[in-house]
């Protein structure tokens, strides 16, 4: 009996010790890349933040851990904490993180001047390549910044540059929509109509382009064309440009279509 009891005790103590060792290994001694993947996979979770905290402490030069740690804070409105980590990532590796920081300042903070400063700095670091912060053409994003600032002339220049960068076949169709919107805001209605039509030629379901056409035709007094295009916008509203996190500057809603209908 005594031997059996001793065996059970050794077995349990071994299991507990291995369990403690396994947790310690995963948190502290595992390779930093594997711990990064584990922590990133549980974004926003308390344990994920602890793992990033340990990584930041053990490897203060590991920029990816600071960058990834920032993400859930910025997505959830704690910009002071999120940008403190993101700024550290940028400081360690500006080439990798400046674009994302600019993107976040544009889309999440709508701090257009500060976003432009990041995009311009990134561009200056890579004079021979067209950057794509967070997967979007840098000139498209710069165009959005100037559009947000109400500087439609400069916005237009960058949206046109984005079309040149990507090629008319590959560029985001919203570049044509924004070109149309810039012209519309500068009261160049013929050019606006041309740009919206080019967008529709490229992708026939672009409801923002139909809506832009409807508004522009209404402005120049062509109510029949306006009504036709408003109906097309209505037919394609399910394909509207939207994002799960933040509203786009040119985003349209059913309520916008209803408002325009009420003006006929």
């Amino acid at each position: 009996m005594r031997v059996f009891l001793k065996f059970i005790k050794i077995f349990l103590a071994t299991v507990f010790t291995l369990y403690i060792g396994l947790i310690a290994y995963q948190l502290v001694f595992q390779s930093k890349e594997i711990r990064f993947k584990l922590a990133a996979g549980a974004q926003g979770n308390g344990l994920s933040q602890v793992m990033f905290g340990i990584l930041n402490w053990q490897h203060p030069e590991y920029d990816a851990a600071f960058f990834e740690r920032s993400v859930p804070f910025n997505k959830n409105g704690d910009y002071e904490t999120g940008f403190a980590y993101l700024n550290q990532a940028v400081e360690l590796n500006p080439l990798n993180h400046l674009g994302y920081r600019g993107y976040m300042k544009l889309r999440f903070l709508r701090d257009y001047n500060s976003a432009l400063a990041d995009f311009d700095r990134l561009d200056a670091m890579t004079p021979d390549i067209v950057d794509a912060p967070w997967g979007e053409d840098i000139d498209f994003l710069r165009g959005e910044c100037y559009y947000g600032l109400g500087d439609y002339s400069r916005a237009l220049k960058h949206f046109k540059q984005s079309i040149t960068n990507q090629g008319a076949e590959w560029v985001d169709v919203q570049a044509f929509v924004y070109v149309g919107l810039c012209h519309y805001n500068m009261q160049n209605y013929d050019e606006a109509i041309g740009a919206f039509k080019t967008g529709i030629e490229q992708y026939g379901n672009t409801c923002e382009a139909y809506y832009g056409l409807a508004k522009t035709y209404l402005k120049v007094g062509d109510t029949i064309s306006a009504q036709i295009n408003l109906q097309k916008a209505q037919d394609n509203i399910q394909y509207k440009y939207s994002d799960g996190y933040k509203e786009y500057l040119n985003e349209i809603y059913q309520e916008d279509l209803d408002d325009l209908k009420s003006k006929f």
Partner: protein, 175 residues
């Protein structure tokens, strides 16, 4: 006397000490892991000092960020801006910065558990007076067209946020 001898024997037993210590550490570690695994950076806990008793989430476990379940306001942020801009008062706010109001939209589309965070132009936190925060909670409470996010067709409780951009003492954007 007998007890003292047993105690002494117990404490001298390296095996028993190993078992006890490893058990205690494993237990504490498990509890700590449980708490860490069930907390999220976006959590808002009920605070009886500031939260209305009339509002409560539908479930008693998890509240999701809006982007995970697709919570939105009818007409989007544009509609929110249109409704809030005429009502908003910037008294008590610094002249420039971002005021973020976070809150819970429950499965019925009701709102509560409001919290504010204000940052200045350098993205450093600025304290907002309670009366100013309450003004923002009041006007956001009047928004009645929240569409709760869903998981497999079932409406869920979720966290939402509205950002007010303050420039030269005025609200210039709401998103």
């Amino acid at each position: 006397m007998l007890l003292t001898i047993n105690e002494s024997f117990f404490l001298k037993s390296k095996l028993n000490i190993w078992l006890l210590v490893s058990f205690l550490i494993a237990g504490i570690l498990t509890l700590w892991l449980y708490f860490k695994l069930t907390e999220y950076v976006w959590d808002i806990s009920y605070d009886s000092a500031v939260d209305s008793e009339e509002f409560s989430p539908c479930g008693d476990y998890r509240i999701y960020p809006y982007y995970q379940v697709g919570t939105y306001y009818k007409g989007g942020e544009k509609a929110i801006k249109k409704k809030l801009l005429p009502k908003v008062n910037t008294e008590g706010l610094p002249p420039n910065g971002l005021l973020t109001v976070r809150f819970v939209v429950n499965c019925k589309g009701e709102t509560g558990y409001f919290r504010t965070k204000m940052t200045d132009v350098d993205i450093k936190e600025v304290v907002v007076p309670t009366s100013t925060s309450n003004h923002f909670y009041d006007i956001i409470s009047e928004l009645e067209d929240w569409i709760p996010g869903k998981i497999q067709g079932k409406p869920m409780d979720s966290y939402e946020q509205i950002v007010f951009k303050v420039e030269q003492g005025k609200i210039t954007d709401i998103f």
